[in-house]
């Protein structure tokens, strides 16, 4: 099961701005070691991922074997770089994420254009090992590095009109060649209800396996909602909007009967074309039973109290 470190277990030095200072020192060291003066932060200007110097290890762990890094970085659904599983690793090689900006808008006190670094900087990066369950019935176990989305949302001070959070992926077919074909209606959009976004499990991830986010996994910044099907975890985010109405989401627009807004992992509600009862953990031959909310029932089930999960799929 999941072990969450109590806040008291974390030395105060790790959560004070001082740790941020050390963290930044660590980036600088890494950067200079690589001899790339351009690398001001680990997620700036990299096409290959580099080590992240300082983060809180094992903030959330799992007694399950990690998916080999090679598998997690070579088997990807990231249609912006092609629809085949091995396309993203190949086609995202030259994707540059220098000076990545995120536009924050809608119902909040602090709208504006933020550099990713400024948005993340005030918070300590945590390592969290989560299950990832794809709607296609395969799964992985991935050690993510990121910041709880709740911390970032709080810093942006949403107003009472912020009922949902909408996210958008970069739309630039020059940089994302998969967007040259209209297999989906670009840009990719996702959204969460504000309480889902504020749930302690929800992570804004900037890395995995101790390194900055590989391009094929959603560099430089992506969402991770481990109790939802993988497609909810939107990649290469360029905008975050606080909105009053439930936002449109890409796969729901594509097939409203097949992909709901919530898309919580639920073995009892089948996708109309395939079963969700079981999944194949990458590396296994046989399938294993899928867990309710992907095994995060304790943490998230309360969000859906009184909701019919058959209609709100």
């Amino acid at each position: 099961m999941i072990k969450i470190k109590k806040l008291s277990d974390i030395p105060s030095s790790e959560i004070t701005p001082e740790s941020v200072y050390h963290q930044r020192r660590a980036f600088m060291k890494t950067s200079s070691m690589l001899g790339t003066a351009l690398l001001l932060s680990p997620w700036a200007g990299v096409s290959a991922s580099v080590m992240i110097g300082d983060y809180q290890k094992n903030v959330i762990t799992l007694d399950e074997e990690l998916t080999p890094e090679e598998d997690a970085t070579s088997y990807n659904n990231f249609y912006e770089f092609g629809t085949g599983k091995t396309d993203p690793a190949r086609n995202a090689k030259d994707f540059t994420t220098d000076d990545w900006m995120i536009t924050v808008g809608g119902a909040c006190e602090k709208p504006g254009e933020y550099s990713l670094e400024d948005l993340i900087k005030p918070f300590a990066i945590e390592e969290r090992i989560y299950r990832l369950r794809c709607v296609e019935a395969w799964s992985m176990v991935i050690p993510w590095l990121g910041v709880p989305l709740a911390s970032i949302i709080k810093s942006l001070q949403p107003t009472s009109n912020a009922k949902y959070v909408a996210f958008t992926t970069l739309h630039d077919s020059q940089r994302m060649p998969g967007q040259k074909r209209s297999v989906l209606r670009w840009p990719y959009r996702e959204g969460l209800r504000i309480d889902e976004a504020m749930n302690p499990l929800t992570l804004l991830a900037v890395g995995m396996y101790g390194k900055t986010m590989p391009n094929q996994n959603g560099a430089p910044v992506r969402l991770v909602t481990p109790w939802k099907y993988g497609f909810k975890s939107i990649k290469s985010i360029v905008s975050i909007d606080f909105v009053e109405e439930q936002p449109q989401t890409t796969w729901n627009m594509e097939g409203p009967r097949e992909y709901g807004f919530y898309s919580n992992v639920n073995p009892t509600v089948d996708h109309p074309r395939w079963s969700q009862k079981k999944e194949r953990r990458i590396g296994d031959i046989f399938k294993r039973p899928t867990l309710m909310f992907n095994g995060y029932e304790e943490e998230v089930a309360h969000l859906y109290d009184g909701m019919d999960l058959r209609t709100n799929y």
């Binding site: 297999v183 594509e254 399938k287």
Partner: protein, 210 residues
């Protein structure tokens, strides 16, 4: 210069083709041995074997038009072997799914066949292949006579089911199954005798009292 028709007529042609048809499955075994099947080997194998089933199926139904268009009567003698390879690849495709996806659970497999249209199509196509494989030998051809030809027209239904099986499971990118659908469509349309159909219609019309 190479004489194609002479090569096709040679007694080596069949054994060579037999071995060629084993290349796709041998390549998979080779890749499995060297751990080159990617992060999800079962999926890679299932997809690849499925692709080859469809490819062999289309090659098999291309034999007759190729003979008509280019006068390659000689290739007709490869059709039975190609058809049997369709069955072989379909059987492998089915077996991997039954074993790896359903861990030999028969009732669960049946539920999947009934509930999921793409599996319904795929499994029906596989079932229809069985009588064709069973009646493929010379003595069955002789015993069934005229009915053999009628029975083997099931191939056309199998092609349609096979293409639907692929199309129906795609999430967003229809390009690849679309290519198979177009090729299959052309090969099936080629068999429709439009002239006869047209003549029949016009003769009905002209026989109407003025």
């Amino acid at each position: 210069m190479l004489d194609l028709s002479k090569m096709l007529r040679s007694s080596f042609a069949k054994p060579v083709l037999f071995i060629l048809c084993l290349v796709p499955i041998s390549a998979l075994v080779w890749r499995a041995f060297y751990g080159d099947l990617g992060a999800n080997p079962i999926e890679t194998i299932t997809r690849d074997v499925g692709d080859w089933t469809l490819r062999f199926l289309l090659i098999t139904i291309a034999i007759s038009p190729l003979r008509q268009w280019f006068g390659w009567t000689v290739i007709l003698r490869f059709r039975r072997m190609l058809g049997l390879y369709v069955f072989f690849y379909a059987f492998c495709h089915f077996l991997i799914w039954f074993v790896a996806d359903h861990s030999f659970d028969f009732s669960e497999m049946l539920e999947d066949i009934i509930k999921r249209p793409y599996i319904t199509f795929g499994f029906s196509a596989f079932l229809l292949l069985v009588p064709l494989a069973v009646t493929s030998n010379q003595s069955m051809v002789r015993r069934l006579g005229k009915r053999w030809k009628q029975l083997h027209r099931l191939t056309y239904a199998i092609v349609m089911l096979g293409v639907l099986h692929y199309l129906w499971q795609v999430k967003a990118d229809y390009l690849e199954p679309g290519i198979y659908a177009v090729i299959a469509g052309l090969l099936l349309l080629q068999r429709v005798d439009f002239k006869k159909w047209f003549d029949a219609r016009t003769s009905v019309q002209s026989s109407k009292p003025a």
